[in-house]
């Protein structure tokens, strides 16, 4: 009896953070914080940039995860929200920064605030578009929904490309010639304050300057942490549970009192919201947007990230983004900068370098097929999904539940101290 009692204790404690887990998270945190400083210091600037882009994909993947992973609605036009966020960021940011500059003429940092003011605006713009897409497609499900969202994504891209309302400047993109995206708030100051140099470290010395890439890297990391926090809370919330129920069986969920309309609209708008935030960040980070960044293939990439990582899984989204967006860029960048040869002694020819970037799509296509056949739950599946997708584990799960049930009934015996 004592043994079964211990079973409960362990299962409760595992939900809390164990010291090992805490140490792992702390280690990752330190790595994430130090990575750009080290890369920048040793002159590997492209690595900072790659990590920042991976961060953007993590945000996108986590946002799409709400729609696909939690609510089970396959969205093949997700990049449209990213695009709407990006265009909103530039279109709204321009007048805003001018207004800030005019209102605070003595403060050179004031125009840089426009990005931060635009975050909520772009988020709301994307979320409203999400509801606009979500409302008419409420009745659709499965692959029909996938095709409609694909059509929506393409319509948005074509509209941007055709200079809709005379705002988007067609295929040339924004900002228009002569206009620039203002420097973000505090970058100049940080560049001045944080410069340091250790001459004897490494081959060429260690020189750290707080560049724009480092700045955006930290902003994106902060946004990612915020996203992870919100998404985790969402998954455990009442809404998250109704998404799970809806994903499993819509009719059964509806008859149990889940508000399907509400749950779907929340999923679309909350998913779109993160796409919008990532989009406006991308626009400011890149300093430029054009419709070709928002093609169908980009939507497929984000879907790929979560399929590969594991639907509904947060660590999965991060690993997926690293594998899909990070690894090919990393190999190519390291090869072209000579870092790969310096570190491993492997020389990659220029031909092989371009082959890496060319073959990635081919490999991704193959990977999607293979993943669906052999590991549909992804690399790091969410616990719940892993159970769903591998029915042979259900027996083991039943046994665990039986043990817990027995244990609970044991503790309920009078005389036990509870």
């Amino acid at each position: 009896m004592g043994g079964s009692k211990m079973d409960i204790k362990t299962s409760v404690e595992s939900a809390k953070m164990s010291p090992t887990k805490l140490a792992v998270y702390a280690g990752i945190g330190v790595l994430v914080f130090l990575a750009p400083i080290l890369f920048q210091g040793f002159g590997q600037l492209f690595l900072v940039r790659i990590l920042a882009i991976v961060g953007l994909y993590v945000m996108l993947a986590l946002g799409l995860n709400i729609v696909v992973g939690y609510a089970g609605l396959l969205d093949l036009g997700y990049i449209a929200f990213y695009g709407i966020g990006a265009y909103a960021g530039i279109l709204g940011g321009q007048p805003l920064s001018q207004w800030l500059a005019a209102t605070f003429p003595d403060q050179p940092w004031a125009p840089g605030l426009s990005y931060f003011i635009m975050i909520p605006i772009a988020a709301v713009a994307a979320a409203i578009t999400g509801i606009m897409l979500g409302t008419p497609v409420l009745r659709l499900r499965g692959d029909y929904l996938a095709i409609v969202t694909l059509g929506f994504g393409e319509i948005v891209r074509i509209a941007l490309n055709n200079n809709i309302f005379g705002l988007t400047n067609g295929a040339a993109g924004l900002p228009k010639a002569g206009e620039v995206v203002p420097k973000p708030f505090g970058l100049d100051w940080l560049t001045k304050v944080t410069y340091f140099r250790i001459p004897n470290l490494g081959d060429n010395g260690f020189t750290f300057t707080f560049t724009a890439n480092v700045y955006w890297y930290y902003i994106i990391v902060l946004l990612c942490v915020f996203t992870i926090f919100v998404v985790r809370r969402l998954d455990d919330s009442r809404l998250g549970r109704s998404w799970t129920a809806m994903r499993e069986d819509e009719v059964a969920a509806a008859s149990m009192g889940v508000n399907i309309t509400g749950a779907k609209l929340y999923a679309f708008s909350l998913g779109a919201l993160w796409g919008g935030i990532a989009g406006t960040t991308f626009a400011n980070f890149q300093g430029f947007v054009s419709p070709e960044s928002f093609t169908f293939m980009e939507s497929v990439f984000v879907v790929c990230v979560i399929v590969l990582g594991g639907m509904g899984s947060i660590p999965g989204a991060i690993v997926g983004a690293l594998v899909i967006q990070g690894v090919p860029e990393l190999i190519r960048g390291m090869a072209s900068s000579g870092l790969l040869t310096a570190l491993t002694g492997i020389t990659v020819s220029a031909e092989a370098q371009s082959a890496i970037s060319n073959y990635r799509y081919l490999v991704f296509g193959l990977l999607m097929v293979i993943m669906m056949a052999w590991r549909p739950q992804g690399i790091l599946p969410s616990k719940r999904r892993a159970r769903e997708l591998r029915p042979e584990d259900e027996k083991a799960l039943d046994e665990t539940n039986q043990t817990l049930y027995d244990a609970q009934h044991d503790t309920a015996i009078p005389g036990e101290d509870l």
Binding site: G72, L74, P136, V137, R139, L140, G142, D143, Y144, A146, I147, V148, L150, G151, F152, E154, I155, I158, A159, N161, N162, V251, F296, M297, V300, V303, V307, N358, Y359, Y361, L362, F364, G365, L366, L367, M368, V369, M372, A373, P376, L389
Partner: protein
């Protein structure tokens, strides 16, 4: 828009519609039996255009012994095109069967999104295989077919290639329709699409029927691909995506799973798009098809000829 232009756009629309109808049949055949969108079908269309390109170039090149016979007479030219269409159709048909075997059959009992994601993977793979191993740029199509004006009404005209596309599409559609509605195998296909398990219990070889659907659809798609190449004069690795989506729209418009619906949907979409492009700016041409798709799915998901879909629990 003047009357001449409207007639001209109608002619163009019907030509386009013939191609859409041929591709749409592939979507509808597979959806009717497996209830899945074969996203890789647009790559069958693209692949057909490339196989056709290779065959046309090879058979008409001076190094090929019979090239002067093929190019010399009308009969030779007809024979040349028959060979090209047959080879492309069979090659791509076999490719379709292989894809079904490798990418879809293992997922037949998986959650519904799994085959769709797998199909997207196949589509990306095939596009990039062509991009990497053949060419990343557009390739001009050999202009062996004699394009001549056949009929002209005022300013509008119908040329021989358009006539060929429309007539050949109609003939192929008629053959398929007869095959499905009159033959034993066609009956088995219809039975399978109504209830796969029950059909299996009645002694129909389900895997054979599914493989057959995956042969016929891509073969017709390949024919459409060659027409597309001949009509527009170039092929490129990414050519399948937009016609693929539009043909899927056509299949949905006609009522997905319904063969005659797919044919009707193809022609309706071709005409609407051509007229729409005449009235609106051509930049928004593709938006028309996507818009129709979304509207049909929302307001009449059963399509023009489809029955209303009853939710199965």
């Amino acid at each position: 828009m003047s009357a001449d232009l409207i007639i001209q756009q109608l002619v163009n629309g019907v030509t386009l519609g013939g191609m859409y109808a041929l591709i749409a049949l592939g979507y509808t055949l597979v959806y009717g039996i497996l209830l899945m969108i074969n996203f890789a079908h647009s790559e069958m269309f693209m692949g057909g255009a490339y196989v056709g390109l290779g065959m046309l170039t090879w058979l008409s090149s001076d190094s090929f012994p019979a090239s002067s016979f093929f190019k010399g007479s009308t009969f030779g030219l007809i024979l040349l095109f028959l060979i090209v269409f047959a080879v492309a159709g069979i090659t791509i048909g076999v490719l379709g069967v292989i894809i079904e075997r490798v990418a879809y059959r293992p997922l037949r009992h998986a959650p519904r999104l799994a085959p769709l994601i797998s199909a997207i993977g196949v589509s990306i793979f095939l596009q990039n295989a062509v991009l990497l191993w053949i060419d990343s740029k557009a390739i001009p199509y050999p202009s062996l077919f004699p394009v001549r004006q056949v009929i002209s009404i005022g300013g509008a005209s119908l040329n021989s290639l358009q006539l060929l596309i429309v007539v050949a599409s109609l003939v192929l559609l008629l053959i398929l329709d007869t095959f499905v509605s009159k033959t034993r195998i066609g009956k088995a296909m219809r039975a399978t699409s109504q209830d796969r398990e029950a059909a299996g219990l009645m002694g129909i070889d389900i895997n054979y029927i599914i493989a057959l659907a995956f042969f016929i659809g891509p073969a017709l798609g390949a024919v459409a691909g060659i027409f597309h190449g001949m009509y527009y004069g170039t092929v490129i690795f990414s050519m399948g995506f937009i016609p693929g989506i539009k043909s899927f729209t056509a299949a949905v418009l006609g009522g997905i799973g319904n063969l005659r619906g797919a044919m009707l949907g193809g022609f309706v979409l071709g005409i609407v798009e051509s007229l729409g492009a005449g009235f609106l700016s051509t930049g928004y041409k593709d938006v028309i098809a996507f818009g129709i798709l979304i509207l049909v799915l929302i307001f009449r998901p059963g399509g023009l000829l489809g029955e209303s879909v009853v939710e199965k629990v």
